[in-house]
Every structure is written in C-alpha cells, then in structure tokens.
Symmetry: C2
Subunit: 234 residues, 2 copies
Amino acid sequence: MSLRAVKPPHETRTRILDAAEELFMQHGFESTSMRLLTAKARVNLAAVNYHFGSKDALIEAVFRRRLDPMNAERVEALDRLENQAAGQPLAPEAIIRAFIGAGLRMIEDAKGGGRNFIRLLGRTYTDPAKPIRALIGQLYAPAMTRFKTAFERALPQVGRDELVWRMHFMFGTLAYTLAATDTVQLIAGCKPEDRYDSRLLEERLTGFLLAGLLTPVPQASAPSSIADRIVQAA
Amino acid sequence: MSLRAVKPPHETRTRILDAAEELFMQHGFESTSMRLLTAKARVNLAAVNYHFGSKDALIEAVFRRRLDPMNAERVEALDRLENQAAGQPLAPEAIIRAFIGAGLRMIEDAKGGGRNFIRLLGRTYTDPAKPIRALIGQLYAPAMTRFKTAFERALPQVGRDELVWRMHFMFGTLAYTLAATDTVQLIAGCKPEDRYDSRLLEERLTGFLLAGLLTPVPQASAPSSIADRIVQAA
DNA sequence: GTCTATATGTGGATAGAC
DNA sequence: GTCTATCCACATATAGAC
C-alpha cells in the first residue's frame, strides 16, 4: 500500500465527463473543442479518444450517465403510485409530480454538476443535429411509454389527439423551464434566490401544468369562448 | 428595357437569407458552413462577406428580417385590443392570442420559408451562444414589456412573482411547440395533417396556456392539494 | 458586384514513444 | 494509461483580377 490515496478507478473518465457536461452547457457541442475540454479536465488531449473513442461517443456518455438513472427514478415513482392505486387510474397531479420531480431535484445540485446537466438536457430536446435528437429520444422512450399510458388512464375524457398535444406542451414547458431558468430576468426581475428553489418551482410548475392538462377540451366550433367554457365547467 | 425580366434589387441578399434560414434550421449555426450555404443559394462564396460583412452579421440579418415585423404585428394587435377596451384591463385570452397568433400563422408558410424560421426561432431561445441569446432578447424586449404590462393589468390576483413564472412557462411552451412540432410523434402518432394546422394548434395552445395562467395561486403550505383547490375555486 | 485563389486558423483524430 | 507531435480536412475571411 502506498502512502498516497489510492487513485479511484476511471478518475480520468469522470473528470472528462464533468468537464464535458459543463462546457457543453456553456458553449454547445460544436463550439466545445477537445482541446478546451481536455485542458479543463486536466487530462491529455488524446485521453478522450482513448477512453470514449470519439467526441460523439463522449456526448452519448455524458447523457447516459445522468439520464438513465433519472428515467429509472421516474419509472420507479410511477411503479410505486400504481402499486398503491391497486388498478385504479392515478391522479393526474401525482403523475405530473412523478415525472417532473426527478429533474427538478437535480437543479439544486449545483456543486455535483446536476444543474449543468439539467440545463444542457432541456436545450438538447430541440438540438438540430439528428443523431443527438435520436439519442435523446431513445433514452427517453421507455419512460415515455409508461407515462403516456398512465395519463391516458387518468384522463379518459381528454381524447387521444388532444392528450398527445397536451403532453407535448407539458414536456415543452418543463424542458424550456429547465433550460432557460437563468433567463427569467428577461421577462422581469424575479427574486434570484427563488430561481433554484426546486420545491417552489415544483409547486408553480405543477399548478400550471395540471390546469392545462385538466382544462375542458375545446370545440372547434367555438374558438373564442375558452374562458367562458372554463367558467361554465366550474 | 431588356427582354429579360429586370433583376430585382438585392436578389443575391435574399437568396442568401433564404438559404441561411433553411440551413440554420436544419443543421444549426456552427454546422452550417459558408461553402454549403453559398452553394445552396447559388451565389459565390465571397458574396456573404460582401453583402453582410461576416457570418455573425448574416445570422443577425436572418432574425431581423422576420422577427422585427413579427413583433411589430404583436404590438399592433395589442394596440387594437387596448383601443377597444378604452382603459379597461384586457381579457387574458385575448392577450394570449395576440401574442401567439403571429408565430402560429407563420408555420403555415412552408413555401415562403416562414415555417423554417419559426422552428429556428423556437430553438434559438435556448441557444448556448451568448451573443445569439442577447440578440434575440434585444429584438424581443419592446414587445415583451408591453405584454407583461397587459398581463399584469389583466391578472391582478396573480401576484408579480407568480406571474413572471407563468409567463416564462407560457413562452417556453410556445417556443418548444414551434421548435419541436415535428417531434410530436416521439410521444405518439398524431395525425400528420394536423401538425401544421395553425388554427387547430392555436385553439389547443390557447386552451392549455389560458388554464395555466388562470389557475388559482398555490399556497406554499398545501403542496399536494392543487387539484382540490381547482375544484374549490370552481 | 462577382469571381478565383489563397491566407490563416482550428477542428477531430491518431501513430508511436514512454 | 499517458503523452508529444503531427496528419489532414475544413472553417472563415480576404486580396485582387475581371
């Protein structure tokens, strides 16, 4: 045994992943050069190719490291809810929380890099590069299927097509919120200390999304009476 | 007068802008080289620098060409509403429609390139490059201020902080919807012919966003009773 | 205004010593 | 597993002829 601490296995890999996560978030994939990345990680330029094979493979590894556990957590939360419900449809609010919780809790992890990743993730949903979108879609697919089924059972009164769009709106709101939370000042000064309060954000998001999901389905024949319909439904 | 049609002024500029719009949407800014761009526009490689000065200046011109008229249209719509209202606060639904209408109508313009631009725009809200975000923010700022004031007057019961977040959610939903409308299949097969029906999409979006904007403000003390509150409010 | 040819920099990837 | 040196493709931008 040497007197020095034993070097953790794959320490180099981890340093590369951490640096990549932060730089990809700050500058995007294309603008982050391997030279900049390896300098930040304090590893040799050739290390990325040795450990990951290519820049693209590194990008995939960055997403897998966080996204696989995150989606597993979501599915586990849904499993727990469905076990408790014993065959009954779930409450829409509970499904929403099961989905957004995992991501929101990660924005409080500033030191461990979770916040960086979440913002990177939110932006990558709309990345122009096809392989990137395909990767994200593939990593999400299993969880997506489960949540879609749960929403369909919970909201039988919302037709299939309408539900697809509402889920689309929902995921969009979440993705954008996570990606652009630093930009909220653009609209107006909000208390900076509230920006990363995931509990507060969860309540705000849940309220907003739940209302959208539950709103009465519009009839094509009455385009300007949505507010009326909400009042009538109440 | 020659027998040939007179060459329109700045035809080269327009061809460059059109090609840039499409390629930036497909591949992003970094991945679109001037060589590819000028080839698509059928102009000389040096033409971009001659007419715009640099690639960055071209990017700015692409956004200004569409975004300035688009935001002007939004502000005009708001002007009309406020003139009609004669000092009374506006209906939240009308404000939402005034904001989202201009963008939604543009997605039907597939041939003229409007659809390309809208998707490019939606994605660029979360672009990692600081100068790009700064440009977008600057081009939006005047319209943003007007709409924020209108929403504050229309929704006095919502509280400043909460309203800022709800507007953030709203713009996020819109941006993501416009950017990723082709990805809706990711959630499930939706009728492809509905994807670009801006009227249908406007009804769906308005219903979703309006419900979120109007939902009762959560109390921090009762985190799991949002559904109850909606029922109580009704 | 348009073109060719080129200057100048940077990118990802790798061969081969240690 | 780590490092240096280098290959080669491709980027933006421009000089100068037409």
